[in-house]
Symmetry: C2
Subunit: 437 residues, 2 copies
């Protein structure tokens, strides 16, 4: 009997143990559904290729080996549940088409993985990411898998409770210059922007714990500055301390920062890996919100034909790992991103996701007050305005820069798109000057 | 406040009532997931367009109207759960791209529809089928929806039980010529092919109950011919009587045929509509298998950019409606269809689908004995070989033609791909002569 016949027979005789199924043939509670873009040269069978991928990422072989019994397969094999071509050729592939394009869906038994982000990555991105044209676009998680995660400790409502701000977007400021010494310089700026009305101050992602600007020295100075500002303005300010480092230093940094009074943490989650973000978020002794910074994300999402889509790498995954606030690119300033993707990432942060709390999207990159109505128009009120140079470059100083942003937020919340009109009607000099920049 | 702002706000304030969600935001038991190919000119937001489609096919409007309360939406609105572009642009759509291509997934609340194939079609194909480039590729049905269907009364095992044939593909013959009179001509051929070893004889889809060849006259003659043949060969034969007609005639034809002793029915299910196939299959008084014929299917599936994919129109849907055997195109003879799609349709007939029994795929169109090993190689043993002219054109007559096919089936089941070798080794004259054609 020829090999081909035997393989085919096996495939059709034990469907429940083989790497293909109707979507109805799987228990939705037992599988994570991965959605991929895939392209390959004409002449290959897309359904067979997808099966090979499913095998590669589960029981591991496409030829029978002794240990891979039908029972092993039944329990552990990933299954192809959808192969969709664009466009959907039925009769023949046209002569001029060299590469065929597909969206495929593979169901991975989540118990192969457990509720682990590391093994999830090895499974759904893993070896197959080395294919010439393959991009992970989406993951659908069953409830039982997600039960193993705590998600954001605070989430949108929790951060709002801490700040006492209910009905408007929050305002964040990055200290500029990004990297500096001594710490006093930053603390002085922090005082200015906080008293101007900033809700959250964050370290730059490039400033964590270098020898010229230690967390130990920086945090007390910033917290003292913020305390003074808070008393003055009658509002509360968070300071997100960048604790990014290797292990175990990142955890030690977090512990140290909190001992010193930090009320928020910042971590470059793709530089440390998701497990570090998760460990910080699920640590019961860390009772402050966590901000997750996007750097490195472009290496995953920018290619249209490889990597991992922005909606996952900047959206659903950091939320699942426990970020309360996720910094990500805004399309209106210096960051290149399609507006539709920027909106979709925010949906991933905020839409119903079992028990996982919604987190704040924080669109970032060259944001000026004039862009605030656009941000509100596209994201509503549950987001954080990420303002950096837009605050620090104000002609009347950082406090005025912060006030200009707060005025822009008020205008947008009242439905104004013409900020100049609003500023003139209300005689708001800080906003008027900011708009002239 | 501008309209744009109001719409966006609404969208983000009541996510559970709006036509978009994370896949995890919906209860998989409450929704039918439709997967579509979609293409439209650059400059439109794909997520918004898909929302408009979801609204169009559920609560019906994209602007607030008084009756569409959040409660109505929460319960009845269809939700966008996936929008995947090929390739997945993140930064910008390249200048040279005029039309963008997507696979989108929409979740339809199945209780809007009930377990009805007619309302299913109106919902998932419906008005949106008039879009310039939109094709329904797949439907995922939740268990509760499918519980309302009985599916095939016999299915693969049931038809095998009736025939007493366990371990090989079945052999079907279409009487040729397709349309003829008087009925005696067909009955004579039926006797020949049945005694030669055919398991199932079917009327042509173009011969149902015309005045020159009435079911009333034809069925008794065929059943008498088959009885004689069965006694002679020691096997059983089914005769699938074409009862296709308008209402209520189709139901009367079925009743009449069964009264007259017919042991199988044939219906052109896309010419009558799915509800007729379902009514026949779910009628308790009809205790015979039902064969469903593919004609008209091409109008749905041939276009790569519109209509309904072959895997649904020829695969999952006739099975759900209750067909025990589905006639569909084989890629090896005169019917044009990609081999990969022909295999996928068979999977839809046979893979696990809740309580719905698997049904027989019957690949058809210019099938000769030499193609049988290919059919077995790709489909295993659970299918029906559809032989028409390949039997009737045998130089030694239809009985010899049927025997040649049975010999080809035996050879393929023993793993032979070289039928000539098998025929020579076993001195099978009928097969040798058939191979010479």
């Amino acid at each position: 009997m020829q090999l081909g016949v035997r393989l085919r027979f096996q495939k059709f005789e034990y469907p429940e143990a083989n790497p293909e199924a109707l979507p109805e043939g799987i228990d939705p509670e037992e599988y994570i559904i991965g959605t991929y873009y895939m392209s390959f040269p004409k002449g290959m069978n897309p359904f067979e290729i997808t099966q090979v991928l499913a095998l590669e990422q589960s029981t591991g072989t496409w030829l029978p080996v002794p240990g891979e019994t039908p029972e092993v397969r039944r329990k552990h094999v990933a299954k192809v549940v959808g192969v969709y071509e664009i466009p959907d050729y039925e009769i023949m592939v046209p002569q001029e088409v060299d590469w065929r394009n597909f969206i495929v869906q593979i169901a991975f038994p989540w118990r192969n993985i457990g509720s682990k982000l590391s093994m999830l990555f090895s499974t759904v991105v893993g070896n197959i990411s080395m294919a010439p044209k393959l991009k992970l676009l989406d993951l659908r998680f069953p409830k039982e898998f997600v039960k193993g995660f705590k998600g954001p400790k605070f989430g949108i409502e929790g951060v709002r409770d801490v700040l006492g701000v209910k009905d408007r977007p929050l305002l964040n400021n990055m200290i500029k210059p990004d990297v500096y010494s001594p710490p006093d310089l930053g603390a002085k700026l922090a005082y200015e922007v906080a008293r101007g009305g900033v809700d959250i101050i964050k370290d730059d992602e490039l400033l964590a714990n270098p020898e010229f600007n230690r967390i130990e020295e920086r945090v007390p100075k910033f917290m003292e500055a913020i305390d003074r500002a808070d008393e003055e303005k009658g509002e509360k300010t968070l300071y997100a301390v960048n604790v990014t480092a290797d292990l175990p230093e990142v955890l030690e940094n977090a512990e140290r920062a909190i001992e010193l009074g930090a009320n928020c943490l910042l971590v470059n989650y793709l530089a440390t890996g998701f497990p570090v973000l998760r460990a910080l978020a699920e640590d019961e002794s860390i009772k402050v919100p966590i901000m997750a910074h996007m750097d490195v994300a472009g290496a995953y999402y920018v290619s249209p034909i490889s990597g991992v889509r922005s909606t996952l790498i900047l959206g659903k995954l950091p939320r699942l790992a426990g970020a309360d606030i996720v910094v990500y690119p805004a399309p209106y300033g210096k960051a290149p991103m399609m507006e539709e993707k920027y909106i979709e990432v925010a949906k991933q942060h905020r839409y119903p996701f079992y028990h996982i709390k919604p987190c704040f999207p924080m669109p970032s990159g060259g944001i000026a007050p004039i862009m605030v109505p656009k941000l509100v128009n596209t994201l509503g009120k549950d987001f954080v305005v990420a303002a950096g140079g837009g605050i620090h470059a104000h002609p009347d100083g950082p406090a005025a820069g912060a006030r200009a942003f707060r005025q822009a937020i008020d205008a947008a919340m009242q439905g104004y798109t013409d900020l100049r009109k609003y500023a003139e009607e209300n005689n708001l000099q800080e906003l008027l000057k900011a708009l002239q920049l």
